[in-house]
């Protein structure tokens, strides 16, 4: 009886944790644009300033890694991506994971992409999640989770936009669910990016388990030309009124997003990006990878820092589509 109760409780815990953490895998998905955007989206013509809607679509393209057939943030020994959460009272927690995204589906398929995440530490250790995004914009995403304590697969409904992702500053909307159609976009100007990207200051540049050394604040993007994209939500009584994103005019990497409520800055999300092809004149400039995400909630003082070690990044590998199935979830060791 006791064992049964424990099993039910552990299932419940995993389900709730799983719900919160779908993001991790999705983190790897994207921020705000249209699901109707696919891999065929072309770069805007050179020398012509794109419209605000076009910019939003390009940002979505970059965040979904549509330039790649597949994209993995793998595990190399003990090095893997880590999500550090820090509450306002200074308490830290960390979650580590590996993640694999596949965009290589035939144009006749109803699947747009599949994203597999496997968690390696914390309460979610051993949990696997497979998220399927469909070509049909109206169709919600499928969330399938491998629950290690039960050794079974469970399906979940799509989380709410405003739900915190893995207890972090990022919401599911920030990370993956928000679509361009949910907002109206306005180009407020073009200027140079002037400030370094945020980090959790007292961890900056320090040795850290899982990632070897935590990065220092990134100032590489100073003086790069960025678009100011103002996106106003269409939802009533929403947690923010509008947000302003700084989008690179060449690569469409969104380095920073500022959220406003009643004209007050309430949240900041910074993203550091790297280019797969160091030569800027070669290849698709949107072929980018995340190096880190930093989030700060000014209402609560909570900070989140997600770090992706570069040596764990792989793309266009020979993995077959069958890797992104329930079969792989079932193979996860307890």
């Amino acid at each position: 009886m006791k064992l049964q109760r424990e099993a039910v409780m552990s299932t419940f815990n995993i389900v709730s944790i799983a719900g919160r953490s779908c993001l991790l895998l999705c983190c790897l998905l994207s921020t705000g644009t249209d699901a109707s955007v696919d891999r065929s989206l072309e770069l805007p013509r050179q020398g012509v300033t794109p419209t605000a809607d076009e910019i939003a679509r390009q940002v979505y393209f970059a965040n979904h890694f549509f330039s790649f057939n597949n994209f993995s943030i793998d595990r190399r020994g003990r090095t893997m991506s880590a999500l550090i959460n820090r509450s306002s009272d200074g308490k830290e927690s960390v979650i580590t994971l590996e993640r694999h995204l596949n965009n290589n589906y035939h144009s006749n398929s109803d699947i747009l992409s599949r994203d597999l995440a496997i968690f390696h530490s914390g309460n979610m250790k051993g949990t696997g999640m497979l998220v399927t995004e469909y070509v049909d914009d109206e169709r919600s995403k499928d969330y399938i989770t491998w629950i290690p304590s039960l050794r079974k697969i469970r399906r979940f409904s799509q989380p709410q936009y405003e739900d915190a992702w893995a207890g972090s500053v990022f919401s599911f909307g920030d990370v993956t669910l928000r679509k361009p159609a949910d907002e109206t976009h306005e180009l407020i100007g073009t200027k140079k990016f002037r400030s370094c990207l945020g980090v959790i200051e007292n961890l900056e540049g320090k040795h850290y388990r899982y990632v070897d050394i935590l990065p220092e604040r990134s100032c590489r993007h100073l003086n790069k030309e960025v678009y100011g994209l103002k996106s106003t939500t269409k939802f009533d009584s929403w947690w923010y009124d509008y947000r302003i994103s700084y989008v690179d005019t060449t690569s469409f990497a969104d380095y920073r997003t500022l959220y406003f409520k009643d004209d007050q800055l309430i949240k900041i999300i910074d993203r550091d990006w790297g280019r797969v092809n160091p030569n800027k004149d070669e290849g698709d400039p949107r072929a980018l990878f995340w190096k880190s995400w930093y989030g700060l909630d000014l209402r609560t003082g909570q900070e989140t820092w997600a770090i992706v070690p570069q040596k764990a990044v792989k793309y266009n590998t020979n993995l077959r589509n069958s890797f992104w199935t329930e079969k792989t979830l079932r193979k996860i060791k307890r």
Binding site: R86, D89, K192, S195, N223, G228, I268, G274, K280, G301
Partner: protein, 136 residues
């Protein structure tokens, strides 16, 4: 009697003393960062960038003219950065022709990978050495 009382008082206070150590200090978010973000944002409306004084989160006043002490857009700043981050690699970096240094700068701007940068410094040093040997 007096000594015994002191002992009792100390024992009484011990949990309080210990708990004061156990409580973690309230974490204050770096104000300089928020000021820099605000100054960056204000440029959209004012058309002019006014960096907060002595901020380590923005470029210096040179930013007005396109340069910045933190920016690696200028080769000089980038070279100083390499010297600071990896003095050993800098010895080889400094001997490279300017064209290679610019190449390294562009690569670092694109990827932000310091380990790759170090590897490339040695790779290019070998290349240059070979070229010199063949030239003879």
């Amino acid at each position: 009697m007096k000594r015994a009382l002191t002992k009792v008082n100390l024992l009484h206070c011990l949990p309080l003393i210990l708990s004061s150590f156990a409580l973690s200090p309230v974490h204050a978010v770096e104000k300089g960062y928020i000021d820099a973000v605000q100054a960056d944002l204000d440029e959209f409306t004012s058309g002019k960038f006014e960096p907060p004084p002595e901020s380590t989160w923005v470029g210096s006043l040179e930013s007005q003219t396109g340069g910045s002490s933190n920016s690696f857009n200028k080769l000089k700043n980038f070279s100083s950065y390499v010297k600071e981050k990896s003095p050993g690699s800098y010895i080889f970096y400094a001997k490279l022709p300017t064209s290679y240094q610019i190449r390294l700068q562009q690569e670092y701007l694109a990827t932000g990978d310091i380990e790759q940068l170090k590897r490339n410094i040695f790779k290019y040093s070998r290349e240059v050495k070979k070229q010199k040997r063949y030239a003879r």
